[in-house]
Structures are given as C-alpha cells and as structure tokens.
C-alpha cells in the first residue's frame, strides 16, 4: 500500500530571538513523517535577517521541506530574497506552482503559494468599483487560476495544496467573522475542488481551529502554531 505521512506547520514567525528554538522540536521527524510542509508566516517582519534564521532552522533536515510564504514574509518587500535564501538552504519554496516528490515508491505532488483573501461565497468582495477593490479581488483570482493550472498538470499518487490563507470558513472558527475576508477566499477551495486534491494545508488564522472541509469534500487543516500547539502535526494519506 502506498501511504504518505505529511508533517505540516505554519506561522512559526521566527526572529533572531527565537533562533535555535524551533529546530530541536524537529528532531526525529524522519521517523514520523516523509515530508514537512510549512504554510507561511515563517518570519515576523519579513526581513532578510529573519529569513536567514528560518533557513538555518530548516536546513539539512533528513526529509524534504516544502514551504510557501505568508503575509508577514512580504512585509519588508524582501520576499524574493527570502525565497532565495530558503532555496539555498534546500527548502522547496512554492510560488503558485507545483513540485513532485517521490518517496518509498510513492509520489506526492504539492501545489501552493501564499494565497490571499476576499472572503467566502455569498459574503465576499467582487471585482467591482474602485481600482483598489478590483486589484484586491483580482490578486486572489489570479492565484486561484495559477493553482488550478498547476493542479491540472500534476501527475502524482497523492496531491496536497499548501497555502497560507484559508480556503474555507470552517478552520477560521474562533476568529472574529468581521475579518474573514482578510483571512482567506473560497476561490482557493474552488480551484482545488475542481481539480481534486487529498488535503489542503494552511495557516494565517492564529485564533482559528484545525479541521475543516471544502464544499467538494477535501480535508482542510489549519496548522498555525497557536492552533495546533505543536511543532507540527502529521497527516497520513492512504493508498492512492
């Protein structure tokens, strides 16, 4: 049977003050999981110095590491430099694209990126009115389009979507409903539902809850550190 154990965490928000505090928690991860997915907000301010701390915490793990950035990682306009620093450390950083990993005779496809907001069906912003509003909604629409494209070309036994923003409301429970449009967008779920995936991982909603489901029935997990209270959680994907 082909099974894949996916370890996932988000919102580790590293800074110089936390240097060396995350890595020890990853000790022995290779016995529990086949891959580690990191769902954005790796830093607090998105500085290059913080990016280096993250790279050092994730460097040379015995299992592959796939990451996306989060809104905090964009804060200092250094997202490209941070991406390069992480890639130098061996981390696969996805920017609305796909990667395929093979392990134990199984292939795992991961599609992802930061994602963005806009809200959820029936209560969301639309591409109408001021250019600022249109640009906001268009950004999410564009991302969802790229995910759909990446998923449609993906040939692997299992497929996981890795995001920072949430595709569903379920995993936001605990957050004030007024800010839902800044926490995620249904367009992300719609792309995954159309093309199919086994699991969607996200973070960003620190006050949210872990478990949810897309309208199409894909499992969604919010793995923000304040939500899971652990260095990572492990999900087992069974026979393809």
């Amino acid at each position: 049977m082909t099974q894949t154990r996916v370890a996932a965490v988000a919102d580790i928000h590293m800074g110089e003050d936390l240097r060396g505090r995350f890595r020890p928690k990853l000790h022995g991860i290779e016995d529990r999981a086949d891959v580690l997915l990191v769902g954005g907000d790796l830093t607090r301010h998105g500085t290059i110095a913080e990016g280096r701390v993250v790279a050092d915490e994730l460097r040379d793990l015995p299992i592959p590491v796939v990451a996306v950035l989060g809104n905090h990682d964009y804060h200092s306009d250094c997202e490209q430099a941070i991406t390069a620093i992480l890639r130098d450390a061996g981390v696969v950083v996805l920017d609305d694209e796909a990667t395929i990993l093979s392990m134990n005779g199984t292939t795992l496809g991961v599609v992802g990126g930061k994602g963005f907001g806009g809200g959820f069906a029936g209560k969301c912003a639309s591409e109408f009115g001021e250019p600022e509003t249109k640009a906001f909604v268009r950004h999410t629409r564009h991302i969802a389009e790229r995910w759909r494209h990446a998923l449609s070309g993906l040939d692997s036994d299992h497929r996981v979507v890795l995001s920072h923003y949430s595709p569903v409301k379920d995993t936001l429970m605990g957050e004030p409903t007024e800010i839902y449009p800044f926490l995620g967008s249904y367009l992300l779920a719609e792309a995954a539902d159309e093309e199919g995936a086994d699991l969607i991982i996200h973070g960003h909603a620190h006050l949210g809850t872990e478990k949810g489901l897309t309208p199409g029935g894909i499992q969604v997990r919010n793995v923000a550190v304040p939500v899971i209270g652990m260095a990572y959680t492990v999900y087992r994907l069974n026979g393809a």
């Binding site: 154990r5 370890a7 928000h13 003050d17 936390l18 995350f22 928690k25 529990r32 999981a33 607090r44 301010h45 905090h72 804060h75 004030p176 086994d198 699991l199 620190h206 006050l207 499992q219 550190v225 304040p226 209270g229 652990m230 260095a231 990572y232 959680t233 492990v234 999900y235 087992r236 994907l237 069974n238």
Partner: protein
C-alpha cells in the same frame, strides 16, 4: 475620553504596526477603563511586549493580559485521512 470602540481599534492597530509586535492575532476589547488582550503566542517575551505596546497605545487604561502562552509541544498522534 475616546469611545471604547476607537481605543480598541487604536490598540489593535498599534499591535499590528509596531515593529516590536507586528501581531495580528490578538483580540482587543475595551470595557470601561479596562483593556483586555486575548490570544495565543509562543514566547513569554512576546506576551509581555504585546502588553507594553498596548499600554503605550492606551495610556490611562489598565491592561488585562489574558494572552495564553502556547508551549510548542512534541508532535502527537498522526491523523489518518
């Protein structure tokens, strides 16, 4: 005195924009002359910094720091999907 609504908004904004905190995940509620901070952070220093920034943004109010410290535990059981 400012309406509690605006005070809460000011503190929330300070927590998000102050370089020391950049914290978007904290709930701020103002009741009378008390300000309540709720949420979860992973380091005790951050919990205290958030309190400092909130106090500076709302001088004269007493700050009730109800932020919980999440100790990042060792991972538990895996979940089969």
């Amino acid at each position: 005195m400012d309406a509690p609504h605006y005070v809460a908004a000011r503190v929330q904004r300070a927590l998000a924009e102050d370089e020391r905190t950049v914290e978007l995940g904290i709930r701020v509620d103002v009741r009378g002359d008390k300000i309540f901070l709720r949420g979860r952070v992973s380091a005790p220093e951050r919990r205290l910094l958030i309190e400092d920034v909130a106090r500076e943004a709302a001088p004269g109010l007493s700050v009730h720091n109800e932020i919980t410290l999440v100790e990042v535990r060792e991972p538990g059981e895996e979940e089969p999907l």
